[in-house]
């Protein structure tokens, strides 16, 4: 395993310590991993909290700050946080107006956050959960744990964050998040497996001429293995998968995220974006906003995901609203 690390066991806390050192505007509890804004909950504002396994940086810790999350609770690598972390994060985020909890749809995440929500409910805190399940590589049926939460999380957290920041009420913030999720679909492919510090070697072996298609963000193998083809062909399949699941008519407007999985350089992501843009143009879909970069990663995996979100009218001002976080920053 080739990584900058001291020991596998301290990887997470060491990385978090560095994050804390780099971002004095945030407050980082190195014991629990919970990250909050240094100034605490914002009076009169609905809280927004997210969390999940680590290894997806900048998600979620990198999205804490003005215009986005109030707190994040990262778990161990690829392991959903425990309920205690989630309750700590929500308590820190709650100013009395209630808190929206953004949860990616994984069995572990759902269960742990549910337990946290019960505890918080018992304490009299209002908590609304927004479940993100955008990954069309997984069929949403009784034969699976349901679609996974992946790239759309960026959109949900930014737009719900904008809604909370402008003073919307708890139900409205949650509703904004849910509508973004409902309007979004994603699909990912991996060129290489990723290596968790504890495993010390890649999660799967992938020959030089093969790729994993329909992967998630936890280093698991995808739906199928294919021969490596040209970017144009790969991206065309990805866009088809996304739009087959949730068609967009000619004339619609979309927000597109081309998200790197951690080991793919920016130039390749732009190349992929160019293919997406051409394909959507052919279909008469206008891309009104885009984000190209590493947002929801899978450690050092080479690969990318494509998220297409129908840009419903009220999404754009909330996407454009000021944001000041380590991972996303504009307008302030």
């Amino acid at each position: 395993m080739k990584k900058f690390l001291n020991t596998a066991d301290t990887y997470l806390t060491d990385a978090l310590a560095g994050f804390a050192a780099a971002h004095p505007e945030l407050s980082v509890n190195l014991e629990s991993g919970v990250v909050t804004r240094a100034r605490g909950a914002v009076a009169g504002k609905v809280g927004l909290v997210s969390g999940g396994g680590s290894g997806h940086e900048p998600l979620h810790t990198g999205f804490v700050g003005e215009g986005m999350l109030d707190a994040a609770c990262p778990g161990e690598i690829f392991t959903s946080p425990v309920p205690d972390q989630a309750t700590e994060a929500v308590r820190a985020a709650d100013s009395g107006e209630g808190t929206v909890l953004v949860v990616k749809n994984y069995t572990g995440d759902v269960m742990n956050f549910e337990m946290a929500a019960e505890t918080l409910g018992d304490e009299g805190l209002q908590v609304e959960t927004v479940l993100v399940d955008d990954d069309v590589a997984v069929e949403d049926s009784t034969f699976t744990a349901g679609r996974r939460g992946t790239g759309a999380t960026l959109l949900v957290e930014k737009i719900a964050g904008g809604s909370a920041a402008r003073g919307d009420a708890l139900a409205e913030v949650a509703e904004a998040g849910r509508r973004v999720n409902a309007a979004s679909r994603s699909f990912a492919v991996a060129l290489t497996a990723c290596t968790t510090p504890s495993a010390g070697r890649p999660g799967f072996d992938l020959p030089e001429d093969e790729i994993e298609v329909g992967v998630g963000i936890h280093g698991e193998p995808g739906r199928r293995r294919e021969k490596l083809r040209s970017a144009g062909e790969i991206v065309s399949d990805m866009v088809d998968a996304v739009l087959d699941d949730r068609p967009l008519e000619s004339g619609s407007e979309a927000i597109v995220v081309v998200n790197g999985l951690g080991g793919t350089p920016l130039s390749e992501l732009y190349l992929v974006y160019g293919e997406v843009a051409a394909l959507l143009e052919e279909r008469g879909i206008t891309i009104v906003r885009n984000a190209v970069g590493d947002y929801v990663t899978s450690l050092d995996m080479a690969g990318c995901s494509i998220t297409i979100c129908e840009a419903q009218e009220d999404f754009l001002p909330l996407w454009d609203a000021p944001v000041n976080t380590p991972g996303l920053r504009w307008g302030v």
């Binding site: 396994g53 778990g75 161990e76 690598i77 690829f78 392991t79 959903s80 946080p81 425990v82 309920p83 205690d84 994984y106 069995t107 572990g108 269960m111 742990n112 337990m115 590589a137 997984v138 069929e139 009784t142 034969f143 699976t144 744990a145 996974r148 968790t196 504890s198 495993a199 999660g203 799967f204 998630g216 936890h218 280093g219 698991e220 193998p221 739906r223 199928r224």
Partner: protein, 208 residues
Amino acid sequence: MDIELARTWVRGIGAAVERERERLGELDAAVGDGDHGTNMHRGFDAAVAAVAAMDPDSVGAVLTTTGTTLVSKVGGASGPLYGTALRAAGKKLDAERAEPAEVGAALTAALEEVRRLGGAQPGDKTMVDALAPAVDAFVRAADSGGRLGAAARAAADAAEEGMRATEPMQARKGRASYLGERSIGHVDPGAVSTALMMRALADAAAEC
């Protein structure tokens, strides 16, 4: 089962998980995200310490503390499942000693909790496929007057058989379900850890 045996069981699981940590991780890497070994290890490390530090007044207290520790240390799918299951089992055993039938009722409560929380059916390729036959075997042995050791041995055997039976299954719950047909041909890591836990009980109760 007395308090000391409960403690020995937890320590036994801790040792088994320590020993099998890497294998659990590899099994999970094949169909999931590879963290089941470290998850179980982190949880039972803490549980063994918690149980050693406490002065329990009942068998159930040992299991409840173990469950609570798992919930607050493990995360992932296995943390809440094993954690609440053990808490449910613990609630049933509020005396200093428990007869085999009472332990059987506690294990039944644990299984119910796993099924309620996770919603998995037998055949979905999860820990349920090891736990359900194990609990069944335990209860049957205890009901027919079997001693703890014998019932636990039957449970461990059944758990291991159920664990092996997950190999040809296609997963319908948890991360492995994302793989669809590609999940076939791999043993479920949670079923393996369940089998380890039942075997640890059998070992702890071997003399009973």
